[in-house]
Symmetry: C2
Subunit: 245 residues, 2 copies
DNA sequence: CGTGGATTTGAGAGAAATCAAATCATGTGG
DNA sequence: CCACATGATTTGATTTCTCTCAAATCCACG
């Protein structure tokens, strides 16, 4: 079963706090943000390519992903999102969405109206900077994803993706004893890595046999996280998880 | 030979104006931005992975690209930049660079101190929003690049990249009669597309033979831009070139 | 005119795709 | 509570796109 409950503002504040010290007023303003809490079934489209959203989505519990569909019907997953993420902040300034935002599993999200965010952005420069920074980190992950799908052979590609997810899950307290609930199917992995699901299957068997990781029944287990990061040439710099980095 | 001269503020204002109406005060503030103009030789590293830049780089003339180098020495180009671009705006909030910024050919740039940009960002909300938007468009291009390198066969991949460049060159007035100065080598293309230069060579021959495009002696010629966009399944939505889109 | 970068050509190897089908869940409705 | 449908995982055989390795040619430039 999914996991911990966290309140909307908790998740958001924790997230932003990782990046800088907010003063009491900032926090109070964030806590006063209006929002609508919603429970979404796995597979729900939150935003579709072409939509013009009027609110942003804060992920409270569960997982989301963003994807584009190519002309010939192939899907490319662009990012996975863990609780605390605000995956469509870009809609504040990019009015027509160029991709889909989808619930990976049953998830609970909070919708915050653009209005409110635009206001907070004008009145609280520090919060504005942090939100901007969030979108820039997003961007940094995309850059890394380009390198991953473009330059690494399948096993390293998988290792890199999983290493990234592990770090991000860990940052929000969802890794325990080298394992985490992670409801990705091999099809999701294939669509994220630019591989076919049959090839993903063979790669996963290999990594399992080599004792690096095991993804089974929706739980991810690391047997040797360090060796996995080496295989994936993983350098966490691009995650910008450190405030002053 | 390279091309037109444009003044720093001209380029910047033209760029930002494409996205919204700036009032006289906004423009005045931008025009007062302090900057250092510099002439850079082809191949110059403007920022290296690991650097902590204290200024942003506005491209006035020539081309830049951003790249990451993998452990095994392969280079992945993440984006190309045309005059008017500010390719390292992200350094305003991401303090350690996760990639390199390099001059593709002899280029002239203007460096604007972070200080000045942070100030303008606090005092002129409209300009702040536009700069933020610039970084979000950046992000949108990365998303598209992921799809391109991950999902399309080599000829479509090339077609897509070239179509994007054509649109962006056109937007800043650098396409004339279906041709433009574009000093990309086949090695650059290979590094951008995740292919080898020998394969790039064969793909280019094919596209030339099929009468779609021709890149020779640093000038790009379109024989059939529309067919090229079809081949590359190019949809300009993600460029967000339209203010209200 | 020599040197190094850029482009081109050829032959062979390899990683991942494709095609096809079996097995294994899981969840729903009768 | 079983029967059936649907989705996820697994396996095998074959194909294909792109890489690798090698070498020749071209070309700009000092």
């Amino acid at each position: 079963m999914p996991n911990q409950r966290t309140s909307l503002t908790d998740a958001l504040i924790r997230k932003l706090r990782m990046n800088a010290e907010l003063d009491a007023d900032d926090i109070a303003t964030i806590e006063r943000l209006p929002f609508t809490r919603e429970q979404l079934a796995a597979g729900t489209f939150i935003v579709r390519e072409g939509d013009r959203p009027s609110r942003c989505c804060l992920l409270i519990d569960g997982f989301l992903f963003r994807a584009k569909t190519t002309e010939d019907g192939k899907r490319q997953i662009l990012s996975f999102h863990v609780p605390g993420d605000i995956p469509d902040l870009q809609s504040l300034h990019l009015h027509v969405s160029d991709h889909d935002l989808v619930a990976l599993n049953d998830a609970t999200v909070g919708f915050i109206p653009h209005d409110a965010l635009h206001t907070i952005t004008r009145t609280r420069p520090k919060v504005a900077a942090l939100l901007w920074r969030e979108t820039l980190i997003d961007s940094a992950l995309f850059r890394d994803w380009i390198v991953n799908v473009s330059r690494r052979p399948a096993p390293a590609r998988m290792a890199h993706l999983i290493s990234e997810l592990a770090r991000r899950l860990d940052a929000v307290g969802l890794m325990k004893d080298d394992q985490a609930y992670l409801p990705l199917t091999q099809v999701h992995l294939a669509d994220a890595l630019g591989l076919t699901s049959v090839h993903v299957n063979r790669v996963l068997q290999e990594l399992r046999k080599d004792g690096m990781m095991d993804l089974k029944d929706r739980v991810l287990r690391f047997s040797d996280a360090q060796r996995l990061e080496e295989l994936g040439a993983f350098d966490p710099l691009y995650l910008h998880q450190h405030p002053k980095l």
